[in-house]
């Protein structure tokens, strides 16, 4: 037993050495867990944030000016004034998501209660921004007009914003009060990185040995296939987990200032279990391929599925039920829901133990299957 452990330790150290010998690989690991996390979290916000807008003002009145001035950051970029003929070409070129068109005599018509129309053109290919942004723009325009009409009439009898709302609609947002997407995206990006690196590094480590022929050297030595696998898992897993921990600590907490509600220790414990399962998955995928090129092409669709359908990009409950069920055989959905519970909602072990248990079971199953396959490929080699 001790002998086995020593073998695994020694082989793992050899693995760490070969990682250290590739400076570009190390630089890329650092990059993915540092700047890339930051860039994804802050750059690509799905909430309505600085959406590009333009305005066609054919009224040129005080009211139209007020509307223009009330479209403000952080939701929108200050609107650019364009002529009516520019609406089509500029939206075709994707320069604006919204173009607001205020018709001539708009102000007059509002004051004399003629119920004029105002048009909001939206680029409906930008689905996320057009939907919510359009609703915000409506609210803003309505509010400006109400206030203006109240003031123009000089009395309080005109419907004012306060009077006409018989019910106050109070929204309480829990866990992420300002609905900031970087709170969400940063942690999800760290998880995506753990998945990507575990699969690629471990699988590639195996294929490299095979392509270079060094796997024969290993076979000539008195080590068992499971020892080779475990050594690759612990060495690559260790590198990735250290990087992930530093990423959560330094990038997510310190640089981005995302408050972590729960226990980092518990999160890292879950990450260890998860890393075991995805590194096993990397070995499993590697046993299906014979060259690095094949492995690269096999890994991409798997990673895309894991990233898009695990609940870190869109919520699980919006997917078809059969697909939700099918995704359960992968460890990623369990780790995503585990991390969300622990990091955002401060859930303890008493709440997340089912996820941990499922991940552990999946890890064991993956390890056994990849072990069987690995042994088979070795037999072919011999």
């Amino acid at each position: 037993m001790l002998r086995k452990l020593l073998h695994i330790l020694a082989l793992g150290l050899k693995e760490l050495n070969s990682i250290r010998a590739d400076p570009i690989l190390l630089a890329l690991t650092v990059y993915t867990f540092s700047y890339a996390v930051y860039a994804v979290a802050t750059g690509a916000k799905t909430e309505v944030d600085h959406v590009s807008t333009a305005i066609v003002d054919e009224d040129r009145s005080e009211l139209s000016q007020l509307i223009q001035q009330s479209i403000l950051p952080p939701f929108f970029r200050p609107p650019v004034e364009i002529p009516a003929a520019e609406i089509g070409p500029s939206m075709d070129a994707g320069r604006y998501v919204f173009v607001i068109e205020i018709p001539p005599k708009f102000e007059q018509d509002v004051i004399s209660m003629r119920y004029p129309s105002i048009q909001i053109n939206m680029d409906a290919t930008a689905v996320a921004q057009a939907g919510n942004g359009g609703a915000y723009l409506q609210q803003i325009v309505n509010q400006v007009i109400q206030t203006y009409a109240t003031r123009a009439a000089g009395t309080l009898t005109t419907p004012s914003g306060a009077e006409i709302q018989p019910v106050n609609f109070a929204v309480r947002v829990v866990f992420n009060p300002n609905l900031k997407s970087e709170w969400f995206n940063s942690v999800m990006q760290v998880i995506n990185n753990i998945t990507m690196l575990s699969v690629i590094l471990t699988g590639a480590a195996l294929i490299r040995e095979r392509e270079h022929g060094t796997i024969e050297h290993l076979l000539a030595m008195p080590v068992a296939p499971s020892e080779i696998m475990l050594s690759k898992i612990w060495a690559n897993g260790l590198v990735i987990l250290v990087a992930a921990y530093l990423s959560v600590k330094l990038i997510v907490q310190l640089w981005l200032g995302v408050p972590i509600a729960g226990s980092l220790v518990l999160f890292m414990f879950g990450a260890v279990v998860y890393a075991f399962s995805v590194t096993s998955m990397g070995i499993l995928l590697a046993t299906f391929t014979t060259s690095m090129g094949q492995f690269g092409l096999l890994v991409i669709p798997v990673l895309v599925i894991l990233q898009m359908l695990s609940g870190s990009a869109t919520p699980m409950e919006t997917m078809p039920v059969w697909l939700q069920g099918a995704m359960q055989i992968f460890p990623t959905p369990h780790f995503v829901s585990f991390s969300q519970a622990v990091l955002y909602r401060a859930a303890g072990l008493n709440i997340v133990w089912p996820e941990l248990l499922v991940m552990a079971i999946i890890s064991a199953v993956y390890f056994v299957i990849s072990g069987v396959r690995f042994r088979k490929t070795l037999v072919v080699l011999q």
């Binding site: 590739d22 570009i24 690989l25 890329l28 990059y31 993915t32 860039a39 994804v40 802050t42 750059g43 916000k45 799905t46 909430e47 944030d49 959406v51 590009s52 070409p89 075709d92 994707g94 320069r95 998501v97 509002v110 209660m113 119920y115 004029p116 129309s117 105002i118 048009q119 909001i120 053109n121 680029d123 409906a124 290919t125 689905v127 921004q129 057009a130 939907g131 359009g134 609703a135 409506q138 325009v141 309505n142 007009i145 018989p166 019910v167 609609f169 929204v171 992420n176 997407s181 590094l201 590639a204 490299r208 392509e211 270079h212 690095m292 090129g293 690269g296 991409i300 990673l303 869109t314």
Partner: protein
């Protein structure tokens, strides 16, 4: 999931508003509107406001950038790792001949996957090409040229095949997934995100793909994007050729 919460909040507000309007109309007996104006929302390019019409062309973009880039990325470094690069170094093959020869097969493979993707979009997902076919096909070809060029460039830089796969994936994935217009229109990105997006072919082909499929556009509107993609190809191959010579010395 902040985006879901935001949408839910808007919907709830809308439900509340229309219920109140309805209630007050029933109680007072006259149609009531809390608004003084009629706000017309015009959903351009996508009247039914279905995400499939932008998602399918965007996914074609993701596939046409990532897959050709990763396939090509192994080209040069595999020869370096196995040592057969010596053939190139000892024969009078020029750098451009070598690089273009490495690129060509992957361009052909890329084009056939492009054809498959377009057919899938039309017949399986029911997303029609509303704009110019010529602009779409030319854009697809230029995009594959740029993506394979990028793959070659990475391949000349790295030392091992692992680093090539990993490098292409992690350098290409972020501008392609986050800053290409797939999630957020490039016009609404700020700062570094916008710069990263514009400095990579993905955002340029995204506009061609969505433009030709859903917005009904042609060369007249999209030619700057074609030009940009061609520019990326020249740049990538040019730099790759420079780096390759250094290794030879």
């Amino acid at each position: 999931m902040p985006f879901r919460a935001e949408t839910t909040r808007s919907y709830l507000g809308g439900v509340m508003q229309s219920y109140l309007a309805d209630l007050s109309a029933r109680l007072t007996g006259k149609p009531s509107s809390f608004s003084l104006v009629n706000i017309e929302e015009r959903y351009r390019y996508n009247q039914s406001f279905k995400s499939i019409y932008s998602e399918v062309p965007s996914t074609i973009m993701v596939m046409l950038i990532l897959i050709p880039a990763i396939m090509t990325a192994l080209g040069v470094v595999r020869e370096v790792e196995t040592g057969s690069i010596a053939n190139f170094r000892s024969t009078p093959v020029t750098r451009f001949e070598f690089l273009l020869g490495k690129q060509l097969p992957y361009v052909v493979i890329g084009l056939s996957s492009f054809a498959t993707l377009v057919l899938l979009a039309i017949f399986v997902f029911g997303v029609p090409v509303k704009g110019s076919w010529a602009a779409l096909i030319a854009g697809g070809l230029l995009c594959i040229l740029a993506a394979t060029g990028f793959g070659l460039l990475v391949s000349t830089f790295v030392k091992t095949q692992v680093a090539a796969i990993f490098g292409t994936t992690c350098i290409a994935l972020i501008p392609t997934a986050s800053f290409s217009g797939l999630l957020v229109p490039v016009s609404s990105l700020s700062g570094a995100g916008r710069a990263i997006g514009l400095a990579f072919p993905a955002s340029w082909f995204q506009q061609i793909s969505v433009g030709a499929f859903t917005k009904g556009l042609g060369f007249a509107e999209l030619w700057p994007n074609h030009l940009a993609l061609a520019g990326f190809t020249v740049l990538y191959i040019g730099v790759a050729a420079l780096v390759l010579r250094k290794q030879e010395a």
